[in-house]
């Protein structure tokens, strides 16, 4: 495994930030599903940069061209390949980096791994731009899941020390999910937007960056999905989520908070809701023993601050073998968290396709 993920529905991501193009092959999609391409483009637009000051000013058209796997907007069951041409690349910005790896970036380990032959321009294959094909794949999967009654939404749970509310993971609000799905700065409590933007702007003005957390909910998955042990839902979701650049942590349900609870608090009691077995709380995030229990699946991810900052940092010069100083120029988001939201939703959609 590396840039390929999945067993039933397999995505194979390709491309480098400043190469000819990026894209994805989705192998294993069921046939006969009508895909609304406008909805796909809408998800891609949420991830696209250049919308406001939290994001890089680089403008991408990011319009995917579908080469295969669709006939008149319907999946054929054959592998679906979509390609996004790279345009508007300013490689000049990256020249100095060839010698001096950027702190917090893949530059140095990639240099060692690939013996210096990797395409370093824009981060190459490690660029955040490679999340565009993930969003594409997820937008396709999501439409198939929606036809089965499954919804997925994520929101900015925090930026720096500014917090949004959390999902009600027992009684989910489908109108909230719909609203979040169309937002490019997705928040449950929209009144915190200003404070969050201020935190980002402060960092930007200090030539710095900030991180945050993204919470994601998946509703409508019946009980009994997932496999025991290493095929558990937590393992499957985490293995795709850590494929997203800058993710450094993941927790399911109450996650790390559970470690401070007593069992009598953390256990979610069962009760009947009509014919259905439900839980009164959802501290386990809808997963017990790796298997879904029919409650919404909930997880939160930690997104580190964008490592590319204009502030001068210590690094090394791999050519002269001396210590060096570096300020990263070019177009970089002071905060990647808002754009990570649709990426995490998309990865979750691909994961759920593989669990069902």
């Amino acid at each position: 495994m590396s840039s390929t993920w999945g067993e039933k529905v397999k995505i194979s991501i390709f491309g480098e930030s400043h190469g000819n193009g990026i894209g994805v092959v989705i192998d294993g999609l069921p046939s006969g599903y009508k895909i609304d391409i406008d909805k796909v483009l809408c998800q891609m637009a949420r991830r696209a940069p250049g919308k406001d000051k939290t994001a890089t000013p680089r403008k991408e058209s990011d319009t995917p061209k579908i080469l295969s796997g669709m006939l008149s907007d319907t999946t054929t069951g054959a592998p679906l390949c979509a390609v996004i041409q790279n345009t508007n690349t300013k490689s000049g910005d990256y020249n100095g980096l060839l010698d001096c790896p950027r702190p917090g970036h893949s530059d140095y380990p990639a240099f060692v791994k690939y013996g210096g032959f990797n395409d370093i321009r824009g981060g190459g294959h490690f660029s955040g731009r490679l999340t565009a094909p993930i969003v594409f794949a997820g937008a396709i999967c999501r439409q198939i899941l929606e036809s089965k009654g499954i919804s997925i939404a994520a929101h900015i749970s925090s930026i720096a020390d500014v917090y949004d509310d959390e999902f009600d993971s027992v009684n989910t609000d489908l109108s909230l999910i719909k609203r979040l799905n169309n937002s490019s700065f997705a928040l449950i409590n929209e009144s915190v937007e200003l404070k969050m933007r201020e935190a980002v702007e402060e960092a930007r003005m200090s030539l710095d960056s900030v991180g945050g957390t993204v919470e994601c909910i998946i509703t409508g998955v019946q009980a009994g999905f997932g496999e025991p042990m290493f095929g558990g839902v937590e393992g499957v979701i985490s293995s795709i989520i850590f494929g997203i650049p800058a993710v450094k942590g993941i927790e399911f349900g109450k996650g790390f908070e559970l470690t401070k609870m007593r069992g009598s608090q953390s256990n979610d009691s069962f009760c009947y809701n009509g014919e259905n077995v439900v839980t009164k709380t959802n501290n386990c995030g809808g997963i017990l023993g790796g298997i879904t229990n029919g409650m919404p699946i909930v997880f939160k991810t930690a997104i580190k601050p964008t490592p590319s900052i204009a502030k001068e940092q210590d690094t090394v010069n791999l050519v002269t073998k001396e210590n060096a100083r570096l300020s990263v120029h070019g177009r970089h988001d002071p905060c990647i968290v808002p754009r990570a939201v649709p990426v995490i939703e998309a990865a979750a959609a691909v994961a759920i396709m593989n669990i069902l």
Copy 2:
């Protein structure tokens, strides 16, 4: 995937808590490695129950019988199978559970998934007892890794709200690692042991349980290992770690704390240490872009409180289809965290074998 994990070195775990036996097949081990079986048994003893009041009074001999893959204590390169007979099983304790799923356990989703045919006695295949073969596999892998200069250690980072110190992840102390590797209540700062044991004892006296966190460090892995995107080291480690029962979260390096930092704080600056490129801090936990950077790999996992508690809880009766009350009897740890330490070390060892 399900009870099988790995690509280069693949482990296949089998067994049910109260069946005839449990064990593991390890496929892909290199040939010609001399294995010290006493060291393997020492790791298994660390996980074994019955040592003190934090653990279940069930005593297991847990002596693995090696059926294949070894000749005169040396690996042959063929799949290594080890079997542990199940003895001392008290199935009577579980009778009532067949109708009433235990809150916080896999009982209910497993009932749905397997249509009631799964072996529910002792949690069946979902039992914590299935971590014994993981420890066995890890103990084999660890000896091979040690011959390559790689060490792995974990400690109880917290129980309830009592915290141990954290690893120094820049300048690691190999004598500390050695001490932890032989401890059954592994702590960096041993003075917190009493407080932790008190927290567990309080929970036990309240017929309740507590959770905690485990921090793990892996030293000696060179820069340049791991694959991009979904083959990143974080994804590989997390996908095996979530196979351990009760794990609900994982973070690498400073993890969720990073989300509150500025980029200038979270980025680990590079510098030369003689000929070697090192970082001055290790907030990224030794992994950048999914690839090792040569610094120690560090991660922390969240362990939820043991769900089996004697305190009465709300549940449902799946036969009468009515709400019900349940107190879980039988032999259960009020705190699983100390015994999770060698399991996490073992899973890390299997993961690293797959990354190299």
Copy 3:
């Protein structure tokens, strides 16, 4: 992949001919299937040696002990592990082989691959004895398939230049399948048995061995199973069949004969049989474009002569680095073909479980 095979139902084979035991873990079996263990033992008895002069005089009890995955004869859905103890091993017979690799055997390449650390006694992990766990796994899968109306049978298609009849692959005779399933010298036309046994006996008397072919049929698989390209049914079946020692060729339907036909002869015309689309001939062996077409799946495998012969052969001495002469003593079948029949049926059963 190596000794592990399968995606949905994964088998992991372990053991060495003269080690403590051999066995299999079957991961991914559906729960709730009642297994008739006597039928399983009956299939294993067909493969077991010592029945007559075509086979090695080594007698194995070969009774598998099931450690997990079954409760009161019913599958639980957890991994099923079965272990067969090795008894009656005469390692002394193999002493000289450590220096002089047997022509036609894995000894030399295994020596290179494992650096001499592999267990050479009895062929180690490469021994034909390792097909016993395959038969076990296949016997379990076969019973599940039978409950879905799928039958599998194979027969000795040829030994040396003595030929049996071929299956009628358009109108299959289920009573024939039943008869073959219980035969230890499976033939469609039983009148050729004597001639075949004579061919084997002649080889044995000349201290030599003979090969042959095995034809296998699978009936009751509906149209539309299999995946395009590399997931095609031919590829899936061949990848497990070549895991059986001594198999050197496989062909589907008329196979190599098709290469001498015109398209108008080899194409199987469609017609309606009531509501069902059937083909008038079955030259394609039930597979078109890798996908089943609803007709019986038919394939034939080439089994090379047993390489272990008492006749003196040229070899090398890897210690003295000189040419050498070798006669292989010990218990060896002069013809492995009759015992390969249940192994091929079993591998086909495991393959079909993965295709459905």
Copy 4:
């Protein structure tokens, strides 16, 4: 698995005959290899149609555009994606086929599998055109293998009942390999070309088609590669080779001929050739116990006659549910064997990359 193959070097093939484009993602290529694109195009030209009367008159430019994974003609280590635009598609030719499946084609089973949503034009994803990306991937892999001293060549072993000579698989002739690698009608004994072309022309004049066999040799692979059992070299090669349309059989070394030999004839004796252990014959095709023995790897595949023939055939009409008659019009090769040669070489190259 389906249109994705491989573990170390994974190819993911996409596209449909008359869709927007076809191509391949190659994931896992080592970095730093200079690729001669002209040599790649040369291999693709060998497969391209329209060269003479044995092939379909459809002319494809088939120039692949490389989107990623290369920088200045050198592999970067990131996934390499190449896209071939589809041009010159005459979909009109296929209209009638929507109702009446072509005998010998995937039409009917694909209709069942995909519920009629698959792209039937030109065979869709099942088209022989999808072998172009395989040739591309193989041409890349082959150049990397050549730098390690490994050569691959194939030739038309037979068409109908006209036979070429066979490879000398003990003393291989590298100048022959070079000649074959550049031939579009690859023969060891070029004097049989006329007879073969006549056999094809006769079939074409009868509105019919013919099949044949392709023999492939791989030289320079050291002893000790491959895994035991299901990871054996025969299994790995066969699982990719059966992904090529029209392949219905494969045999290694003397294959089916071995079944008529005595062990003393089929066993390849070892001897020293200077320091090296070699075999005097190569009946096993360079593979013992699934592991390479250092001799050339040799295998032969059976290619069925092109199923698309102009001669009228019996079929069914899936709409009216009545029997029907069909003659397949459009551009079809009366014999696919010459064009299969570079495809088989390419698949072998991808397989060997995964074995090393």
